[in-house]
C-alpha cells in the first residue's frame, strides 16, 4: 500500500457529554471490548497501510497506553510506524486546537515519508472498509480529492452537525453544508479523504494561512470548484459518535447480532488491546437477555438489552436495563438502572434508581460512588 494513513480528530461540534471529559473520543470504550479508534486503525492496517500518524487533540495518555507501538493492530514491528502526534505546546485557547494547527506543528512527520498518497480519516465514524478499493476508485476517477460518504434516510436524527455533500450525477461534489436535521435523506461526509500527499500538504498550508480557526474540512469545502472533489459511497454500516445520545444509540444498535454482522466480518478483524481477563461467570441467580458482555465479569443480577464492559460486578438483586456499564464498575444489590451510562470504576450501591431516556441517558461519572 503506497499511502500514508492519517487518523485525524473530530472538531468541537462532536462532544460526548461526560465520557468525553475524561478521554479523547478515540479512546472511549465501545461495545464492551473495543475503543472507538480500533475501527479506523484496523481498517487502515487491514488495507495494508503500515505507516500511520494518529493525531490526538488532547489527553494523549489514553492513546499511548491503548495503541502501544501498533503491533497489536498489525503494524509491522520493523517496517511499520505508528506515531501518536499532538500539539506539544498548549494552545492559547482551545479554539486554536484545530486539526490544521496540529498538522502544521507536526509537518515534518508528514513531509518526511515517501508514500505518494494519503488516506485521512477521523476515528469517530465507525465502519469497516478496504481502502484499497477507495484508492483504486480515486485513481480511476482521476479525482484530485476523493471524499467518503454514506447515504442516510435518518438524517433528522443521525449524523447531526456532520457535513452533508451535494453531489452531481458523476459523483462530483458541488457543495458542502451542515446537516442540521432538516432533511431526511442526506449524503453525509465521513470526513475521510484520499489524495496525493503533496496536495494534502498544500491544502494544509493554505488553510493555515487562511485562518487560525480553519479545519481541514473547511478548506476542502473552499476548493470544490477549483479541484475535482469526488464522492465515494461507503455502503455498509456507518455510524458517527458525536454526542452522548448517538454514542448510546449506536452501541445499542450494534448489540443486535444482525446489525453487528453488517459491521464485523470474519475476514476483516477489528483489533484491540487484550487485558487477559478470564471468562465471565454467571451465578445461579443471573438473569440475562439481549446483551453483550465482555470478559472478566461476575454476574448475579438481572440485566437485559445492555452492554457490559470488562471486569464488571453485578450483584444479586441489581436490575440493569438498556444501559452501558463500563470496565471495572460495580452495581450493587437493589440498584435499578434503565437507560444509564456508567463510566469506568464507578460504584453504584446506595442509589436505588437511575432512569434516563433513549435521547438523554443518565451518565454516572468515572470513579464516582453513588
Amino acid at each position: 500500500m503506497n499511502a500514508l494513513g492519517i487518523i485525524s480528530f473530530e472538531d468541537d461540534t462532536a462532544t460526548i457529554d461526560g465520557l468525553g471529559e475524561f478521554r479523547p473520543v478515540p479512546a472511549i470504550s465501545f461495545l464492551g471490548r473495543y475503543r472507538v479508534i480500533d475501527f479506523i486503525l484496523s481498517n487502515m492496517t487491514n488495507s495494508g497501510i503500515n505507516d500511520v500518524r494518529v493525531f490526538c487533540k488532547e489527553k494523549p495518555r489514553n492513546l499511548f497506553e491503548h495503541l502501544g507501538d501498533g503491533t497489536l493492530y498489525g503494524i509491522n514491528s520493523k517496517k511499520g510506524v505508528l506515531r501518536i502526534l499532538y500539539g506539544e505546546k498548549s494552545f492559547s485557547a482551545p479554539i486554536y486546537n484545530t486539526d490544521i494547527a496540529n498538522y502544521m506543528l507536526n509537518m515534518q512527520y508528514i513531509e518526511d515519508v515517501s508514500n505518494p498518497y494519503v488516506v485521512i480519516a477521523p476515528s469517530y465514524f465507525i465502519y469497516t472498509l478496504d481502502f484499497n478499493d477507495v484508492i483504486k476508485a480515486h485513481l480511476d476517477s482521476k479525482a484530485d480529492i476523493t471524499v467518503l460518504y454514506t447515504n442516510t434516510n435518518d438524517a433528522k436524527r443521525s449524523f447531526l452537525n456532520c457535513d452533508a455533500l451535494t453531489l452531481a450525477k458523476n459523483k462530483r461534489v458541488t457543495g458542502i453544508e451542515k446537516n442540521r436535521g432538516s432533511k431526511k435523506s442526506r449524503q453525509i461526509s465521513m470526513e475521510a479523504y484520499v489524495m496525493e500527499r503533496s496536495l494534502f500538504i498544500e491544502l494544509v498550508k493554505r488553510a493555515a494561512e487562511m485562518s487560525s480557526l480553519y479545519w481541514f474540512k473547511d478548506i476542502v469545502a473552499d476548493v470544490v470548484e477549483e479541484k475535482m472533489v469526488v464522492g465515494y459511497n461507503v455502503r455498509g454500516y456507518v455510524a458517527c459518535l458525536n454526542s452522548l445520545e448517538s454514542y448510546f444509540r449506536v452501541n445499542m444498535e450494534l448489540k443486535d447480532r444482525s446489525v453487528a454482522q453488517q459491521l464485523f466480518h470474519s475476514n476483516w478483524p477489528i483489533y484491540t488491546k487484550t487485558h487477559d481477563s478470564c471468562p465471565t461467570r454467571f451465578t445461579e441467580k443471573a438473569k440475562v437477555s439481549g446483551s453483550v458482555i465482555a470478559n472478566g465479569c461476575t454476574i448475579a443480577g438481572t440485566f437485559e438489552n445492555s452492554i457490559i464492559g470488562r471486569n464488571v460486578v453485578i450483584r444479586e438483586g441489581a436490575v440493569v436495563r438498556n444501559s452501558i456499564i463500563m470496565t471495572d464498575s460495580y452495581i450493587g444489590a437493589g440498584a435499578k438502572l434503565d437507560h444509564a451510562v456508567v463510566d469506568k470504576y464507578a460504584i453504584v450501591h446506595h442509589v436505588k434508581k437511575l432512569e434516563g431516556t433513549e435521547e438523554a441517558p443518565v451518565y454516572v461519572k468515572r470513579r464516582d460512588r453513588i
Binding site: 487477559d276 465471565t280 461467570r281 454467571f282 437477555s289 453483550v292 458482555i293
Partner: protein
C-alpha cells in the same frame, strides 16, 4: 531485565491417550480448558508470573499446532531480552542416530547442548498437562535454603488414592528417603506433582550417566530420582496445598472445568496478581440473545447464546442456537449446538457441530460423553 540463573523446561510431548479424540490432532498440552485457555497456558503463565523468562518447551506428539502456539512468547510476556520460549523437538544430530525422546529424562539429555549454552544454576522441570497456579520462585527459594540437590513438589492425596501416584516418603524435615511409583501399600500420602527443581551441575552428571545405562527408561521418576536416592543426594519435598488437577481423562478434564463455576473456586482465574495468559483471539464480546438463558455458567468472548445454558463452560466463538439446551457440559471453542439440540454431561470438542434436534449425553451417565464427531 537481565535474565536470572533459572531455566524452565516444560515436558509437552505426551499424547494424552485417555483424552481420546481430543488429542487426535493436537498434543494434550494444547487441549482447551476453561473456555479461552489451553492447558499449557498454566505452566507458561506460572513461569512468567514467577519471573522465569527462559522456557524450553519439549514437544513431540502432533506438535505443529503446539510449536506454533508456544513460539508466540509475547502472549505470556515471555518475549524478554535474553529470555523467551524455545521450542525443542527431537532433531537429527551429527554422529548420532535420530531418536525421538525416549523418556522425560532423555528429552532433557537430548537438549543438553541447549542448556549448556544457557549455563543455568537451577533447572525447573514442569509438565504441560496440569491445571494449577504455583509460584516457582517460592519453591526455588526453598530449594536454595535447604541446599537441596533436587526438590520435588508434592501434595497430600487421600491414602486410598495414593496407589495411583508416585509417592514420596520423607522424614520430619521433609527430606525424601524413598520414592515409590504407584505403590500397592503406600507408606505416605505425599504424591509427586511432576514438578522438579534440580541444581543443574549435579543433574547433568546424572543425565550423562543415565544415557549410557542400557537398562534405564530415561525417566525422572523411574531412573533419575532413584539414582539420586541411591547416592544419598539431598532430595526435599516441597508441599503445595493449592488447586492442582491432572486433566488426563475426559472425566477429570470436565471436572476441572466445572470447578470454575463456583464462588471462591480455588483456582480463581480472576486474580489480577496471577493472571493466566493465553493467545489473543479476535472475537466480539459474548452475546446472550433476547431468548437466551444463562444460569451458573462460565462463558468467554465470541460465544453466542440464543438457547439456554446451565452449569456449563462455553468456549470462544461457540454458538448455542435458539431452543438448544446445554446442561452440565463443556463446549469447546468454535463448536455449534444447533436449534433444539440437547447436550447433557458432555464435552463437545472444538469446531464440532451438534445437529438440530440431536440429543447427546445423559444426565445419569457414569462418565462424561466426549462428542468429537459432527452429528448432523
Amino acid at each position: 531485565m537481565r535474565s536470572n540463573n533459572v531455566v524452565a523446561m516444560i515436558l509437552a510431548g505426551g499424547r494424552g491417550t485417555r483424552l481420546f479424540d481430543l488429542t487426535k490432532k493436537v498434543a494434550k498440552p494444547a487441549v482447551h480448558f476453561g473456555g479461552k485457555y489451553r492447558i499449557i497456558d498454566f505452566p507458561l503463565s506460572n513461569c512468567a508470573n514467577s519471573d522465569i523468562s527462559t522456557v524450553g518447551v519439549l514437544t513431540q506428539y502432533e506438535s505443529v499446532l503446539l510449536n506454533a502456539y508456544v513460539a508466540r512468547d509475547h502472549n505470556w510476556g515471555l518475549d524478554v531480552r535474553d529470555g523467551g520460549v524455545y521450542v525443542l523437538t527431537p532433531r537429527e544430530k551429527d554422529q548420532a542416530s535420530f531418536e525421538v525422546y525416549q523418556g522425560t529424562a532423555d528429552a532433557i539429555t537430548q537438549n543438553i547442548d541447549f542448556l549448556d549454552n544457557l549455563d543455568p544454576e537451577y533447572l525447573v522441570i514442569l509438565s504441560g498437562d496440569h491445571i494449577y497456579k504455583m509460584n516457582y520462585a517460592t519453591m526455588l527459594a526453598y530449594h536454595r535454603v535447604k541446599g537441596a540437590d533436587a526438590t520435588i513438589a508434592v501434595r497430600e492425596v487421600p491414602l486410598k488414592e495414593a496407589t495411583r501416584f508416585g509417592i514420596m516418603n520423607a522424614d520430619e524435615d521433609d527430606r525424601i528417603y524413598e520414592f515409590e511409583e504407584k505403590p500397592a501399600q503406600p507408606k505416605s500420602n505425599l504424591a509427586s506433582m511432576g514438578i522438579y527443581i534440580f541444581t543443574y551441575k549435579t543433574l547433568r552428571k546424572y543425565l550423562m550417566a543415565d544415557v549410557k545405562n542400557p537398562e534405564s527408561n530415561h525417566d525422572f521418576g523411574k531412573d533419575i530420582i532413584p539414582a539420586y536416592l541411591n547416592d544419598k543426594k539431598k532430595l526435599f519435598a516441597y508441599h503445595f496445598n493449592g488447586y492442582w488437577k491432572d486433566v488426563g481423562t475426559v472425566d477429570s478434564l470436565w471436572e476441572a472445568n466445572m470447578d470454575l463455576l463456583y464462588d471462591n473456586n480455588e483456582l480463581d482465574l480472576s486474580d489480577p496478581d496471577w493472571k493466566i495468559y493465553t493467545e489473543d483471539i479476535n472475537a466480539l464480546p459474548q452475546y446472550i440473545g433476547p431468548e437466551g438463558k444463562v444460569e451458573n455458567s462460565y462463558i468467554t468472548q465470541g460465544a453466542v447464546v440464543m438457547g439456554s445454558v446451565k452449569n456449563s463452560v462455553l468456549g470462544t466463538n461457540c454458538v448455542i442456537d435458539k431452543g438448544a439446551k446445554v446442561i452440565d457440559s463443556v463446549i469447546m471453542p468454535g463448536a455449534h449446538i444447533c436449534e433444539n439440540a440437547v447436550v447433557t454431561r458432555c464435552i463437545v470438542a472444538d469446531d464440532i457441530v451438534v445437529g438440530a434436534g440431536k440429543k447427546v449425553g445423559h444426565k445419569d451417565s457414569e462418565h462424561i460423553e466426549l462428542v468429537a464427531k459432527d452429528t448432523e
